[in-house]
């Protein structure tokens, strides 16, 4: 197999075609779609989900799952809001939010590792717990006295360009996560754990430590998402980001990450995030409400997997197709 065919045979290449289709359909259906201001809005709106999808990719590659991300965002948003209300400066409030996010992730990881419990169950529990703590702290109130520069994180753009600040933050993190996952020994170890935990242990990998690490990363990135989201919404409530875990997991799975762990790339997840963002944006332009858009999100997920008879089979078909094409 040549370099070129190997590249073409990748799931990511297929996703790029889907992305192109999404962009073309979007441009066809609305002339407003391809304007820079619209794309800017589309991207800014997708950033909270995208930021959380980064650590979720790592978590799922190790064969675990984190259902509590939405609640961790809600909790961090609450902490940030309360800190600002209490008169803290915004940077201090953000630091507090990040600290609480790290702590929440640490609790998830510690229970999973030391309790030897399935992460699905543990994070369902902490999903309720963290959301509950947020409700206790903030009750039904909404907090929106953020400084202007803080709100710019969510809505503002870099200088006079249409690039949202949140996208810059995301891209920095994306680059960091991508290098971490695909170029460092730590990333290699995540795949080893996801494929064969025993063999990883027998190779001198401290599996527990690594797992706690990815859950902490998940918590920290949720706090970053909380900052971006509260800035974008210009308010923080205890129910911020409720149900966010579903679109995040959808994007990761659509990006070609095996839900049982061991394979997938961040590049694929990035393209999947863009597909979902553009599809939703063009639906929005067509007057479809966000609640109704989730049908399309679900359908994109299911159809991508079904039409080609499941992700693995599709990947194999696609690879075979490319190989036969190359050999001709």
């Amino acid at each position: 197999m040549t370099r070129l065919t190997a590249l073409l045979a990748r799931w990511e290449t297929f996703l790029l075609l889907v992305l192109a289709a999404a962009v073309i359909t979007g441009a066809e259906s609305s002339h407003y779609f391809l304007t820079s201001s619209n794309l800017s809005i589309a991207i800014a709106g997708a950033m909270p989900i995208s930021i959380v999808a980064l650590p979720m990719t790592l978590v799922i590659i190790t064969g675990e799952i984190d259902i509590s991300v939405g609640s961790m965002i809600g909790l961090c948003a609450t902490i940030i809001a309360l800190s600002i209300e209490a008169g803290c400066s915004a940077p201090l409030a953000m630091a507090a939010g990040i600290a609480v996010g790290a702590l929440a992730g640490l609790v998830n990881g510690a229970i999973v590792v030391f309790g030897a419990l399935p992460s699905l169950v543990v994070t369902i529990g902490t999903l309720a717990l963290y959301r509950g703590v947020a409700q206790i702290l903030l009750k039904e109130r909404g907090v929106s006295d953020f400084p202007d520069w803080y709100q710019a994180i969510g809505f503002g753009t870099v200088g006079s360009t249409p690039i949202p600040w949140s996208a810059v933050i995301f891209l920095l993190f994306f680059a960091g996560f991508a290098v971490y996952l695909h170029r460092t020994r730590y990333g290699r170890v995540l795949y080893a754990i996801g494929n064969n935990r025993t063999a990883a242990r027998f190779s001198g990998v401290n599996v527990g430590c690594v797992l706690i690490g990815v859950f902490v990363a998940s918590g920290i990135m949720c706090s970053v998402a909380a900052i971006v989201l509260t800035a974008y919404l210009a308010s923080a409530r205890s129910d911020t980001a409720i149900g966010l875990e579903l679109p995040v997991i959808t994007a990761v799975v659509l990006g070609g990450v095996n839900i049982f762990g061991g394979s997938g790339t961040l590049g694929g997840v990035l393209i999947a995030l863009m597909v979902l963002a553009f599809v939703q944006n063009s639906l929005g332009l067509a007057g479809v409400t966000p609640e109704e858009q989730q049908i399309v999100t679900g359908a994109v997920l299911i159809l991508t997997l079904v039409v080609f008879g499941g992700a693995t089979k599709l990947r194999r078909t696609w690879r075979g197709l490319m190989q036969s094409w190359a050999s001709e």
Binding site: Y180, R183, T184, R185, Y191, A192, N195, A200, F202, G204
Partner: protein, 524 residues
């Protein structure tokens, strides 16, 4: 239910009588051939199983024994040849077909349902019913009855996850009996159980034989083949090379048929001068039953650990590698006392462990050869930020892949597309790259072809000559005797005997591993 079993038993005896009278075998394979892709794993194999007789099947790993078992179990279908039952051709197109024809298979690794009770495991898929509902009382009584017949005292309501491996095999036998098997296939049943449990299994086999069941017994222990079998068939590379009465065979003759040449030739141990003491272990205990393990290991020495599965050999290896931290004991390497609580510490101390189970513990199968080989040394191959030096990684992997003579398209070939022997060489490369002072090899040649075996022996021998201290764990006495400078024999978690190379005596070693326990010490 119980009565119907009795009636079926009577019917079985009558059928057997008739079969015997007309000289018809219970099950007969004629010219059975099976291919997987281009590879012919069975070529025109004939085999007849007679009522009331044990037919023992021997052969090296990869000789086609397990394929034959799977054909009898209805899991695989032959590409050519026929299967006859009582002289009539039958087709075994599924597990249920085989069951209907009275063929029961006890697999090497019992595939039971850990959460279900013993009784349910015996009757799974066909639980007895009364008025359309499952009749637990009858089921429990039936299972208890079957187990009592096997002299096994197990509460039939216990979940199977609470049982030992030997007990689980007993459940498989009970399952076979519950379908009123006329043909019982035992696929290496003794490989994972203790000597005492082997004795009990043999007793059960003899009883079933007396009841007129036709038995196919597969083992890689020559002694068992010759003592339990009435007839013996040897397979080599998918062909039947020998069928004879057990009484006419000697161990040497059988082994020669299995490997096709003089056995010694495959173990090219190089002479090496044994160096200074390197590692010493004193009073090591743990893993629930391992006690008082002590030995010294020298540079350039190959120390053999011989014993049956479950004797404690692998447990000691795992303690030395920090997988299972020991409860007690002192380990020193050089002059330094080391505490091994996790594999990382063992690796830092210069120990490598090639684990017993290549697929579960050894390799990350979907990984390319390169990533598997460099997994233990990624720290050395990466900078302070953790970025892997990819060209150096590839270089190291290529170097060792070549040295091990791994047959592959390159170091990027996924490991799961390699043959067993080549996978084992990758695994060996993986644990040689850290340049260990002490290399522990837990059954390094298990389940691989003869060529790869010889190559691994040569590599191990050369490593020892170059100064590496090696612990070689094996359950093939011939192999350990050929390779080792000294042998420690394990039994019930202790070192039962020690032999120096000059005084290697196959019988004494086997006896130390198995039989003395009963006579000299009583139940341990």
């Amino acid at each position: 239910m119980l009565r119907s079993r009795g009636r079926a038993g009577a019917k079985k005896r009558i059928v057997n009588l008739i079969s015997e009278f007309f000289g018809v075998s219970a099950i007969e394979l004629r010219g059975v051939t099976k291919r997987f892709g281009p590879v012919e794993v069975l070529s025109e194999v004939d085999l007849s199983l007679d009522a009331g007789k044990v037919h023992a099947l021997a052969g090296e790993n990869g000789a086609g024994k397990s394929t034959l078992v799977k054909i009898l179990a209805g899991i695989h279908q032959p590409d050519a040849g026929e299967i006859q039952r009582d002289g009539v051709e039958i087709a075994l197109n599924g597990v249920s077909d085989a069951q209907r024809h009275g063929i029961a298979v006890v697999h090497q690794h019992p595939a039971l349902f850990p959460d279900l009770s013993v009784a349910e495991n015996v009757f799974v898929g066909r639980q007895p019913k009364k008025h359309g509902r499952i009749d637990w009382a009858t089921m429990n009584a039936g299972a208890a009855d079957l187990l009592a017949g096997l002299r096994m005292a197990i509460d039939v309501r216990l979940p199977v996850k609470m049982l030992s491996v030997a007990e689980r095999q007993g459940i498989e036998v009970a399952k076979a009996l519950s379908i009123d098997a006329r043909v019982l296939v035992l696929d290496e049943p003794t490989s994972a159980i203790s000597a005492r449990e082997v004795d009990r299994l043999f007793e059960i086999v003899r009883r079933l034989k007396a009841q007129g069941v036709a038995i196919l017994f597969i083992s890689h222990f020559i002694e068992e083949i010759l003592s339990l079998g009435d007839d013996v068939t040897v397979l080599r590379s998918g062909r039947r090379v020998l069928t004879a009465r057990a009484s006419e065979l000697t161990p040497e003759k059988t082994v020669r048929a299995m490997i096709g040449a003089d056995p010694r030739k495959f173990f090219p141990k190089e002479a090496a001068a044994i160096g200074a003491p390197l590692m010493s272990v004193r009073g090591l205990a743990g893993a629930g039953f391992v006690t008082d393990i002590g030995f010294d290991l020298h540079k350039s020495e190959i120390l053999g650990f011989f014993g049956l599965v479950g004797a404690g050999r692998s447990e000691v290896a795992e303690m030395l590698f920090g997988i299972t931290p020991p409860d007690r004991g002192e380990i020193t390497i050089g002059a330094r006392t080391v505490h091994l609580h996790r594999p990382q510490e063992a690796m830092q101390a210069g120990i490598s462990l090639l684990p017993e189970d290549r697929h579960q513990q050894g390799l990350v199968l979907p990984f390319p050869i390169r990533s598997n080989e460099t997994l233990p040394v990624l720290r050395e191959l990466s900078d302070r930020l953790g970025l892997i030096d990819r060209s150096r990684e590839a270089e190291v992997a290529r170097d060792f892949t070549d040295r091990m003579h791994v047959v592959a398209t390159g170091v990027e070939q996924p490991t799961n597309t390699l043959s067993g022997g080549n996978q084992q060489k990758v695994l060996l490369a993986k644990w040689l790259i850290p340049r260990p002072l002490v290399l522990i090899l837990d059954q390094p040649t298990r389940g691989i072809d003869v060529g790869a075996k010889a190559e691994i022996h040569r590599i191990v021998s050369r490593l020892a000559a170059e100064g590496t201290a090696i612990i070689l764990i094996g359950d093939d006495a011939e192999e350990v005797m050929a390779m080792a400078d000294r042998i420690l024999v394990f039994r019930n978690g202790r070192i039962a005997a020690e032999f120096a190379r000059e005084s290697f005596d196959r019988e004494a070693i086997l006896l130390a591993a198995a039989h003395v326990a009963r006579n000299a010490q009583g139940p341990a």
